[in-house]
């Protein structure tokens, strides 16, 4: 068992087989740096619980194919990314930090699916981007590919 500690000082025990899906922790274990509790100063307990849920489910990815549990895993993944935008972004940052490749892929794809049809204004708000372009610069970008800014599918809502 490996002990992980979130930034709000909560400890979680995770099976080694599950936790080594994180390249970062795997490297720490291999280098003998994970003898006691591993503090994760960037991840809060709420996000860490989600990540551990994912790691436990994906513990034996290889076996899933043999036992025909692929569909089950696919369904789990679909349910897993069904979370709020802020929450999803927290999980992406955690997955990136812990270097969990499959989780990163899954969550970034979900983020991309949600952003796909968003308007520029909505994207700025969702990703907390401050617009520092002048009106002229903005117009120039629009003029380069006006077709990218048109269409009934463009969605201005933020969620």
């Amino acid at each position: 068992m490996v002990k992980l500690k979130s930034n709000d000082d909560k400890e979680f025990e995770v099976e080694e087989a599950a936790v080594i899906q994180s390249e970062m922790i795997k490297n720490m274990i291999e280098d003998g740096c994970a003898t006691s509790v591993i503090p994760l100063p960037n991840i809060d307990s709420k996000t860490l619980i989600k990540v551990i849920e994912y790691l436990n489910k994906h513990i034996n990815m290889g076996k899933a194919a043999e036992t025909g549990e692929e569909d089950d895993l696919k369904e789990f993944d679909e349910q897993f990314v069904n979370m709020g935008w802020e929450e999803l972004f927290d999980v992406i940052m955690a997955a990136n930090y812990l270097n969990i490749h499959e989780l990163m892929e899954l969550c970034c794809q979900s983020a991309a699916d949600r952003l796909k049809n968003k308007s520029v204004r909505a994207v700025r708000e969702m990703l907390k981007i401050t617009n520092d372009l002048t009106e002229e610069e903005e117009q120039e970008i629009i003029n380069d590919a006006p077709w990218a800014f048109e269409g009934p599918e463009i969605d201005d809502t933020v969620n």
Binding site: N27, P39, N42, E137
Partner: protein
Amino acid sequence: MSVKVGAKRKHFQIENNGDYNEAKKVSLFTRANLIKCQHLKKKRSVPAKKTRKGKRVVKQIDVDQQATGIHFQEEIIVEILKRLPVQSVLRFKCASKSWDALISDPGFRMKHWSPDSKSEKLLIRQRSLTQRDVNEECSFFGLGYDATSDGYKILKLNITKYPNQSIEILTLKSGSWRKICNHPTIDFPGMGCKLEIYPYPNKIFPFDPLVYVHGAFHWLGHLMVERKVILVSFDISNEVFGDLPLLEEMFVRVPGLSDISISLLDGMLCFHLTDVPLDIFKLWAMKDYGVKESWTVLFTIRVCDLSLVRPRYRFPDGDLLLYAPGELPHQGLNPWSFKFQTFEGKYGCWPQREFIEKGIVYTESLISPKLVI
């Protein structure tokens, strides 16, 4: 004592007391504080202009830390942006200066342009042709992006005037056609000389496009003397001809009554054989490019009323969209009665229209021909 880990990704210094990953922690905290700061501003409903001013002050406090924070975020942004369609990515250039710079960056354009089966789309082209056009238009074309010269090239196999056929190339940057040769040649064992490779004659599908994959154009050729079929390749960067291995069993049993061709499905070079006397359509895919042993039979279909089939698209569930003429050639082929049909029949016959010409599979790219001319 410190230990270096994370070989593949980033190098962090790890201290024995568990206080590891110092650099990254700092950058994350900087970013977290920044977001918090923005949230607070929003809650107080400060006008947008003031918020921006506030952020600039933060930037000035510690430029170095801020820079790492942005870098970290950019890594994630790239991961998300590369999964978006071209239309969305071009729109999001308008988000901010740094997004515009990131998306316009050649490195990002290349990252985004990684054709895979997921990014393939099917385009059904509708066009009305007369018999006269067909006679005049006797060239095969292929379009490809050459990363070495950062430009598009179009290859043309001109088969109009036999025996004065030629192979020409157009580099979009230069804007003019350049003749490469009349025919590529191959050393033939036992002959002691080079033999010319002619394009494999195909009267039914005179417009089969060249297959572009793995940085090279491909087409089927044959040697007049040996009736041997050759899978020719032409490298887009160094403009050198080559040939890829085929299997013995791919060779036509009854030439003239059977049909062979190649296509690109799921990013793999495919070879297909329609054995008309046996009513069998067989499709092989070359799973590892250039490796003879990797040719794998993906489909064997009894075609019945569909002869001379062309695969056009592979659906995400593996089903195949086929394109074929309606009647057998010896029953009097009407070249316009082609139809689409799926292998497993889930989608049934696609609506037949008078002038559907063919389906084309394409991938989106951020590398606009306009940009690289």
